[in-house]
């Protein structure tokens, strides 16, 4: 397609869990450099939506395209170079060093019999440093704190270097300062390197601060658009079923329960 194809697009996307429809007929265009937040109450389908956009689970109906190509026509390995996915939680089943874990992100870039190169190691080290994990290369991942593990997962994703970042609660397990630092790194990738980001965020002040667009998911439907239009006190009060009051403006807005 044309050069102006959005990084990530979906048309007529319908999602359901069992017999409950989460959203129907969702159209979405996420362009290079954009940062989208998915907000909504528990069980609204935020995780299902971000997993479906990552082509890790099939939708009930609808089409998803990366850079103008339908995902069905993109091979698994090529998909992994186009989009990266951060699950809500991960478990460390086996011992592994921090550097080895970050290097996992390079998997789709290597041929079957190829070993990681010095360049792969350098890239992974840089990603670790960006999330404040420099110098922990040899640490066993099972000795890390919850926040360190979360930043390690983000570093592995940055080492993977996809064009589209699909993140399920990237700020979970992080303290306030780390939340801002980690999301600063990610949004800088969108701003400076043309990455497209779609992330589930529980904290509305983080959505207001970092997202330029938003998807409000709840009650079986989705509202999409510019963050300033979606993240308003009346709209969010209806979404969460509790009256919220806005404190502050624009990027420093916070929504508090009244």
């Amino acid at each position: 397609m044309t050069e102006a194809s959005p990084r990530l697009a979906c048309r007529g996307l319908t999602l359901a869990i069992g017999k409950r429809t989460l959203v129907s007929g969702l159209d979405l265009d996420v362009h290079a450099g954009e940062c989208w937040a998915i907000v909504g109450p528990n069980g609204a389908g935020k995780t299902t939506l971000v997993g479906t956009l990552a082509a890790l689970r099939p939708p009930v109906s609808g089409e998803i395209a990366y850079d103008g190509t339908a995902v069905a026509r993109i091979g698994l390995r090529e998909r992994a170079m186009k989009r990266g996915y951060l699950p809500q939680d991960s478990i460390d089943f086996f011992p592994a060093s921090v550097l080895e874990t970050a290097l996992i992100g390079r998997h789709p870039h290597l041929a079957r019999w190829q070993w990681e190169t010095e360049a792969d190691i350098a890239r992974s080290r840089a990603a670790l440093a960006a999330f404040g994990l420099a110098g922990l290369d040899a640490r066993d991942v099972r000795t890390l704190s919850g926040g360190e593990r979360r930043r390690l997962a983000l570093a592995a994703l940055v080492a993977q270097d996809p064009a589209i970042f699909l993140l399920d609660e990237p700020s979970s397990h992080l303290d306030l300062g780390q939340q801002i630092a980690a999301l600063d790194v990610l949004t800088a990738l969108a701003r400076d390197r043309g990455k497209a980001i779609v992330m589930v965020l529980h904290d509305l002040h983080l959505a207001a601060r970092f997202a330029d667009h938003a998807i409000a998911l709840g009650g079986g439907r989705a509202r999409t658009g510019a963050a300033a239009r979606i993240l308003t006190a009346p709209a969010l009060s209806e979404l969460f079923g509790h009256r919220l009051v806005q404190v502050g403006e624009g990027r420093t807005a916070t929504f508090l329960p009244s």
Partner: protein
């Protein structure tokens, strides 16, 4: 290679050193098993025997008796350790072993049935048949679930455990019905014994095939070890890869139990211990498991046939006697 500048990832030099060291250990173990026995044979006599210019007695002992048995022991130990390493990663459970899907139970039922029928020559083919029937049964039953997923490792595991319990009941039944004279032979088979292993070639061929096949997916295994979600997001065809590698592990296990009965602990302890010592990169761990598992079983079998000679112990007794304390030590070290 600049090994000293790397931390957190094994340098190519270190990877090579690990495999060369384990290869040397395996060679020493095999050499020892050729030398030690009812007649001790010196190193130069072994070399002459292998080259074919030794005395007839030494040549016959080394080439016709000890070498096939040593190679069979190496192949069986290597197959079990490889299958164990694969199953531990595929099930993401460091306590998984090659028999977790019930393959040894099926083989045992086949072998014991042949013994019970008095058809000693059919024990090996019957064991192979039993192993294959059990494998196909477990995979087929695990596929037909109520949910839409083709199959999951959890269902595979549960099906394997239940099918193994079924085989266990049949084994107990046959042991109860068997005449006393046959029970000892049956127990030897169940514990694992290399006394009847005279032909190592089939097991060595299966070893070469399964090792090459699993090495081709070794980096995919590294990703699968992180969990299925992460593997899928990194481009691994999770269901297909898991299925293919489970099938390879099943083939390796079937070849091992067909050759020597169900020898315990090698498939559980060797990959587990190596993982703690050299890390969990499957590209190193799988060949290392093959070398260490093979070497361990060669040593265990040499002990089994010499320690209370002329009585030969079933090698499974020795692997368990070595395996239990080693494993308990590893567990308590892991906890501290």
């Amino acid at each position: 290679m600049a090994a000293s500048t790397l931390t957190g990832v094994a340098s190519p030099a270190r990877r090579a050193a690990i495999l060369i060291a384990l290869g040397a250990v395996a060679l020493v173990a095999i050499g020892g098993s050729l030398a030690i026995g009812s007649i001790d044979i010196g190193l130069s006599a072994i070399v002459h025997a292998l080259a074919g210019d030794a005395s007839e007695t030494a040549s016959a002992i080394v080439r016709d008796l000890r070498l096939p048995r040593a190679l069979a022991a190496f192949a069986v130990g290597a197959l079990l350790a490889l299958a164990g390493a694969l199953m531990q990663v595929l099930l993401r459970n460091p306590l998984a072993d090659p028999y977790i899907l019930g393959i040894s139970g099926g083989a045992a039922v086949g072998a014991l049935a042949a013994m019970l029928a008095g058809a000693q020559s059919l024990v090996t083919p019957a064991a192979l048949g039993g192993a294959l029937v059990s494998t196909v049964l477990v995979f087929a039953l695990a596929r037909t679930g109520v949910d839409r997923a083709p199959w999951t490792t959890t269902r595979l595991l549960l099906t394997g455990v239940v099918v193994a319990a079924g085989w266990g009941a049949l084994i107990a039944l046959m042991l109860t019905l068997a005449p006393d004279a046959q029970v000892k032979g049956m127990l030897f088979w169940l514990i694992g014994d290399l006394g009847g292993a005279t032909l190592a070639t089939p097991a060595l061929i299966v070893l070469a095939v399964t090792l090459a096949g699993s090495l081709a997916f070794a980096r995919d295994l590294n990703v699968l070890a992180r969990g299925e979600h992460i593997a899928a997001a990194l481009g691994v065809a999770v269901a297909g890869t898991t299925f293919a590698l489970c099938a390879l592990a099943a083939l390796a296990t079937a070849a091992a139990v067909t050759t020597a009965g169900s020898i315990g602990f090698v498939g559980l302890v060797v990959p587990h211990a190596l993982r703690l010592a050299i890390g969990n990169d499957q590209r190193v761990l799988l060949p290392a498991s093959v070398l260490a598992g093979g070497a361990l079983l060669v040593v265990a079998d040499t002990i089994a046939r010499t320690i209370v000679a002329p009585v030969q112990l079933p090698v499974g007794v020795i692997t368990a006697l070595i395996g239990v304390p080693v494993f308990l030590a590893l567990l308590s070290r892991g906890r501290s």
